[in-house]
Subunit: 342 residues, 2 copies
Amino acid sequence: MIKIVVDAMGGDHAPVEIVKGAVLALQEKKNFSLIFTGDEALVREELRKYKYDASRVEVVHCSEVITNDDVPTQAVRTKRDSSLVVGLKLLKERDDVAGFVSAGSTGAVLAGGIMFVGRIKGVMRPALCPAIPNASGSRTLLCDCGANAECKPSMLAQFAVMASAYARSAYGIKNPRVGLLSNGTEQHKGDLLHQEANALIREAKNVNFIGNVEGRDIMYGDADVVVADGFSGNIALKSIEGCGKTVSDILSKAFRKSFGSRISYLFAKKQLKKLKLMLDYSAMGGTIFLGLQKTVIKSHGSSMAKSITPSVLQAVDAYEGGLIRSLTESFENLVSQEGGDE
Amino acid sequence: MIKIVVDAMGGDHAPVEIVKGAVLALQEKKNFSLIFTGDEALVREELRKYKYDASRVEVVHCSEVITNDDVPTQAVRTKRDSSLVVGLKLLKERDDVAGFVSAGSTGAVLAGGIMFVGRIKGVMRPALCPAIPNASGSRTLLCDCGANAECKPSMLAQFAVMASAYARSAYGIKNPRVGLLSNGTEQHKGDLLHQEANALIREAKNVNFIGNVEGRDIMYGDADVVVADGFSGNIALKSIEGCGKTVSDILSKAFRKSFGSRISYLFAKKQLKKLKLMLDYSAMGGTIFLGLQKTVIKSHGSSMAKSITPSVLQAVDAYEGGLIRSLTESFENLVSQEGGDE
């Protein structure tokens, strides 16, 4: 049985919500087990609250925690007995461990992932790739959304390859449509980085490039994959989050105001629930860190149990879909193509 | 009485909706009159549909139209008798003309604005500055959102100065809070451009800088002004538009489905209307092109009358608030400061 490591100490609501969410995931799927890394006494205390198959849960004690106040690159070097570093090492070293989930410091997950798990051969820079619910009822993969604030055109072309492989293996999309996030749909739009990236992605093999797309297309769902430099991808993601949160708050207020509007809520309930779920990024699960040799999922820092459960299942799904194999093959082809061109 | 020039031929619904929207604006405020530029026969035909004070409407005939298929910089040079070029020249040449409104090609409005109206002394690059409704019930000014895809740090510092002057004169905000759009709130976040811009804005006089802000803060409303390079500002704006439109569509569907939900709509109507209005960027009015010697307002290409009316009033308000004087003074101070430093 494969195992998923969960960093029990990372996140604003650790370990309470982390343990709860992960244990709930055990009920959803029966084909995996959990390894928690963290303060064993605290984790065991939380575990006692739930009923679960004890043979599917292991706890590895760690004496340290990496917080958001730590400098990420320094923390992953010095806090060797932290729940994050120990977890990433388990992922790297043990063949039966298929994935790692943390709601801890993003910077530390990124730095630690590269340092301890390592990149797939040929990958220049791993990238964060969240799946954003869209108007057509599916998800838009946005890659990168913050791991790399400074990008080169060739990095953007690699993001297109990585996210396409992810769309195929984790979402079953046979020929994912890939757009490049820019300030207009015309090919000449954007700064030099994006103009050059457009040309490179256009030539990339196994990428179904549909050209430049705009910020609004992320939620319209006309592309399966939207490629972005980490700076503007992050701005797009958070702009959508801000709009979604604002709308959710106004809706909640609208239906709390009067008895009449509470009644009215009952009538429109199904659609409104769908909408709130769509806008609630905390329930979207985690963001995959694509390009590493094994699956690393970063859950939102403010994750409650309901975000941890889908994050854990996401790691299981990635294993079942053969994500890492698919990514590795994509880059083997890329490397051999490039080799052939020389 | 001051005059506002309206490009009657620009936009997807010109001249029908443009003329209608502008004439409706005449009823809202009594202290200005209109000059339409465009095909006189067509404009007069539309005008015949409405009741208005004929002494407040003038039509200047033009034989050409600039479309979205034209190359902007070339079109403003060659189509000298287009409604857009003739309108911008009237704005420049006549002292009684205070503003210009067009729903035509954005590129042509930008190129024509710089060429025929000219920049305020000291302004490196004019910028598009839309006012986005936010959660606190006011507006967030986002500057630049697309006029300048490639920016230098000093340009971003100027956007902070320009948008602050606009917030003071048009929105009555005494000490507008200015944030820099980046991929994190910490000062070191962002690429080199944004790190340098952060340092420059921090030192700018008459700018109340609150540091880096994230995409989500645009709609939260914790800053009055959000400064952005035109590339990522455009992505933020359109990401918000896409989220808003998607939510609006789902809401409409939710309340159309059944008799019960139509009844329910009545109860929550007020809040929902407020929400739809907030998300409907077509009703937001136009986007000001800041940094020119006179007020130029770009209305959305798909503008209907309900978008043109607020755009015309926005031009009147800018005049009444003394926007151009305030901008000119800001840059006089800036230039003399810089002179003093040398």
